[in-house]
Amino acid sequence: MSKKFWETLPQGSVVLEAGSSAKFKTGGWRSMRPRWIEENCIQCMFCWMYCPDMAIKATAEGKRAEFNYDYCKGCGICALECPGKKGNKAIVMEEEGK
């Protein structure tokens, strides 16, 4: 007898696959988009540390790299925490789609 769809769900809604959240691209939720202004960046890596979605990439040498817009929800925490250079932020938030 073939099972109904709901009979195939894992018991207790347990997710049995490790790291499956990577499949769920949350970037689509974003209404504000962070932009990196590299000349103002002092490579403090605050943004990388503070981002709740691990949406700031780092190079193998541990340097600041581009945003991962597949997962960046546009919360603006990185822009808030960014010290920038001489009062000039290295991250600014801009309205998505503009």
């Binding site: 709901w6 018991q11 207790g12 490790a18």
Partner: protein, 392 residues
């Protein structure tokens, strides 16, 4: 062979937990369940069990810790009463929705306000929709027996749901009765080894508990949860049959007493069933054909089986030791649901009794039976829902 002892309901349940030796208990004290876990904590202290006892700061935390321990892959138990159960409310749903076989004696007690520590079923009835299986016990023996069976039922691979084993606060939890204990080795064999399903501590197979599931799948998960409940009665009866083989004590989804040839029936749960049986005997001596149905399993509710057991009666009085204010008593609603499945539609009345530990006395049972006799004769119900044993 087991041994016969004189113990309270709490003592008997603590003994059952000792014999089962769960991996983890997380508990917070509340009258009248305090004494149960206090006794169990002495077993932990004295090295009689290997249980990790987690002393938490509230019942919400107790159930949370139980959920964590059960998800980790342990056999888990706790106990509570009244406000304690109320404080667990949101976690109760999570335990059931996550399909964690936690077992919890619930020593039934009234809910505030006004503050009252005595026995009624308001706490258990408030949790009837949480997805837990619920068993109600008439006396200490039943509480002990139900608790041992509860682990087998909860942990059965076709069920995997949490189970509450209820007994009346003080009336059963603190009264000394004759109880037959089963041998430790037999309990151990009966309950068997705990088989974890998707344990978090299986580090080779990482997994996540508690995902966000929205409109795409939530409805399907609930459909699946409902299905499990429909399978539970078969497991409950299988476990009861095995239990009878071991002890000679018979359990079903409900108990019937002089119901086979009855014209009228009283449906009542827990300790009040004992008093009712005595009064039924007196009326039977006078030739009145009255019987009793005592639900043991309230969740899932055995609608079809109950409809079958009551199909020949003309009038039914459902006695609720809890009220749904502005609605009907919770047991009445279920029995009425069962009656709707019958071809013969007996008259059904609802009596609210014994709230906050008010004694259920023989004259209340007599009043109910006298009224049933009139209803059976006339087919007319004057008052559907009525409080009995009220000081007027």
């Amino acid at each position: 062979m087991g041994k016969i002892v004189a113990v309270t309901g709490n003592e008997a349940c603590a003994q059952a937990l000792k014999q089962i030796n769960p991996d983890v208990c997380a508990a917070y004290p509340i009258t009248p369940a305090t004494d149960l876990m206090q006794r169990f904590s002495s077993f932990v202290n004295d090295g009689k069990v290997d249980t990790e006892l987690v002393l938490v700061e509230s019942e919400h935390s107790a159930m949370s810790a139980c959920i964590g321990a059960a998800a980790a892959g342990g056999r888990v138990a706790t106990a509570t009463s009244s406000q304690g159960l109320a404080l667990m409310w949101e976690m109760l749903y999570i335990a059931a929705g996550t399909r964690l076989p936690i077992v919890m004696p619930l020593v039934n007690r009234a809910l505030s306000a006004p503050l009252n520590i005595h026995g009624d079923h308001s706490d258990g009835m408030g949790a009837r929709d949480t997805g837990w299986l619920q068993f109600y016990s008439e006396n200490a023996q039943e509480a002990y027996d139900n608790l041992i069976q509860a682990f087998r039922i909860a942990e059965h691979l076709d069920v995997r749901l949490p189970v509450m084993v209820c007994m009346d606060g003080f009336i059963v939890s603190h009264s000394i009765e004759r109880v037959e204990y089963i041998d430790d080795a037999d309990v151990k064999k009966f309950v068997g080894k705990f088989v974890p399903v998707h344990p978090l501590l299986d580090l080779d197979k990482p997994k996540s508990y508690g995902p966000l599931i929205l409109t795409d799948l939530y409805h399907e998960y609930k459909r699946a949860q409902h299905e499990v409940m429909t399978k539970a009665p078969r497991v409950v009866l299988e476990v009861a049959a095995d239990f009878e083989k071991m002890t000679g004590r018979k359990y079903g989804l409900f108990e019937t007493y002089r119901l086979e040839d009855a014209e009228m029936a009283i449906v009542v749960m827990s300790s009040a069933a004992g008093t009712t049986k005595d009064i039924i005997d007196r009326y039977r001596d006078k030739g009145v054909r009255i019987g009793l149905l005592k639900p043991r399993m309230f969740r899932p509710f055995p609608f079809a089986e109950m409809a079958d057991a009551l199909k020949h009666v003309k009038a039914i009085a459902v006695l609720d030791r809890a009220d749904s204010f502005g609605g009907m008593g919770p047991l009445y609603s279920e029995v009425a649901g069962a009656v709707m499945q019958m071809d013969s539609k007996p008259a059904v009345t609802n009596k609210i009794f014994g709230l906050g530990g008010r004694d259920y006395l023989p004259d209340q049972a007599e009043y109910v039976i006298d009224e049933l006799i009139t209803i059976a004769k006339t087919g007319k119900v004057k008052t559907v829902k009525e409080y009995i044993g009220v000081r007027e």
